[in-house]
Amino acid sequence: MTTTPRPAPQRGIFDEPYWRYAAAGELRLQRCSACGSFRYPPGPACPDCLAEEHEWTALSGRGSLLAWTVFHRQYFPGIPVPYAVAAVRTAEGPILIGNIAGTAVGDLIHGMPLTAVFEDVTTTDGPLRICQWTRLGPSSTLEEQE
């Protein structure tokens, strides 16, 4: 477990459930009850059908690596460089941002299968559980990464 203080998330009123589920180790996204479209970041209306009603749907936790960048400039005192940030295309469609645990930057490959893992971090606002990603393989578990 890392104790590196990271920047706290921006938490608008629609973001609260996401972080509450994350704290419980669940990856859930807001989904339109009328037409089934995901909304991410969460918001007040469905961009497809404008309905307000929604539920918080659990994702499979499966995804693939869409793109990444390696930070060489230090923007945050709490996150030492270099570090990679990835855009992950989830199996359900929405694109999520995270760091890749347990894979060296040089070994990242576009399209590589990933699975969601939760990491407990310290932020400037206190402890937070955030969704990260790790290479999907038969022996890959969160415990192994740590």
Partner: protein, 394 residues
């Protein structure tokens, strides 16, 4: 739907008759030495004074005012002593669009577009938890817990994906910085004038990989102003009139924060829409553009614009970037003042001024011979706008 008949009624009816810029190398030198000799309004006032003199108009002739993003309209009017009958606030490219619409509609006859920014001495942060622009672009700050902020990092993600899809190499991308530096060397008002070849580029440090130091804009203090009026009035003024021939705009906001339009589409649908409109209104195509200006916070904007507006086929920009065609003497000169990368980061306002200077034939050593048509393409996070200008017939 675009009403081409109405759009065409605007074509060539509005002119740019004055341009003014501050002395970017001096602004940069002073900022580097930690001297704060101007604030944003000071730079704005210098640029405005110069644009007014350039136009031959008097301050009392100006009845419209558009303030750039770092300025408050009220304070700008106060500083410049101007009580106008029409005013607005806009970024560079929208300032021209708004002024043109206002002049065309008759709510103002002579509009000053004024930009000033003390972003360097003022310590504007483009990355970090309070990254500039986060209030308008949620993605600039939303992912801070994972260490992702800054416009540069988002364009680095795009570049990573774009290179995978198109095969663009880092060496080819370096062609953008190299070509623009070659132009900057011919422009006494560009900040970075030391020679830069592709080996120097590749030796530059990464900021957010795959983007390097020379892929990033040069944050600087400074100011730019333009004066816009009717084509009729422009004919009575002393400078060669530059006419606005085309306007194209298209936004790609769906799923903007989740980065889908950026990473999956490279903003192409918005670019295509804007291209279709700007060329239809101007009655021409990309092959007739003599000088191209591209909003270049980051070098990767250039291949996106070249492909999105049909200067080359999708996915084929790499060869064009490394061919030398974009630089001095090339077949498609791009960012002839040095742009944001080597000239000065004036948030697109300097590109507007350069369009005018090239068409007037007053760009000195960097002048593109016989330039009759210039195009500006601005795509900031999927908000795509393009303008086409022509030199008025004498």
């Amino acid at each position: 739907m675009v009403d081409l008949a109405r759009l065409s009624a605007l074509r060539d009816t509005v002119a740019i008759v004055g341009v003014g810029e501050t002395d970017y190398p001096e602004d940069y030198g002073r900022a580097r030495r930690g001297e704060r000799y101007q604030d944003a309004y000071g730079y704005a006032a210098t640029a405005f004074r110069r644009a007014l003199t350039d136009s031959g108009l008097e301050r009392r002739d100006i009845d419209g005012l558009v303030a750039g993003p770092a300025l408050a309209g009220e304070r700008l009017g106060e500083v410049l002593g101007m009580d106008v009958r029409w005013a607005d606030q806009a970024d560079a490219v929208q300032a021209v669009v708004k002024a043109a619409l206002a002049v065309h509609a008759g709510v103002a006859e002579c509009v000053a577009l004024v930009y000033g920014n003390d972003q360097r001495t003022g310590g504007t942060a483009y990355g970090g938890p309070g990254a500039m622009g986060g209030e308008r672009h949620l993605a600039y700050t939303y992912y801070a817990p994972w260490g992702l902020t800054s416009q540069g990092a988002l364009y680095a993600l795009l570049a990573n994906r774009y290179m995978e899809v198109t095969g663009l190499t880092e060496r080819e991308l370096g062609g953008v910085a190299v070509a623009q530096r070659a132009f900057a060397r011919l422009n006494p008002n560009a900040v970075m004038r030391k020679p830069l070849d592709v080996e120097d580029y590749l030796a530059g440090r990464y900021i957010c990989e795959p983007l390097r130091l020379f892929d990033y804009c040069l944050v600087n203090d400074g100011g730019v102003a333009l004066i816009v009026t009717t084509a009729e009035r422009a004919r009575r003024l002393r400078r060669p009139a530059v006419l606005l021939s085309g306007i194209g705009r298209s936004d790609h906001n769906r799923e903007a924060t989740s980065l889908r339009p950026r990473l999956m589409d490279f903003y192409r649908p918005a670019q295509r829409n804007a291209a279709e409109q700007v060329y239809a209104m101007a009655g021409m195509g990309p092959s007739e553009v003599d000088v191209l200006q591209v909003y270049d916070s980051f070098s990767i904007h250039v291949p996106l614009a070249l492909e999105g507006f049909g200067f080359c086929a999708e996915g084929s920009a790499g060869k064009l970037l490394s061919s030398g065609d974009l630089g001095p003497g090339g077949r498609l000169p791009v960012n002839t003042s040095g742009g944001h990368l080597s000239g000065s980061y004036m948030q697109g306002w300097g590109h507007l001024a350069e369009c005018v200077r090239q068409l007037r034939g007053e760009a000195g050593e960097r002048q593109v011979p016989g330039a009759r048509t210039t195009q500006y393409i601005s795509d900031v996070a999927g908000k795509v706008t393009s303008l086409i200008y022509r030199r008025a017939r004498a």
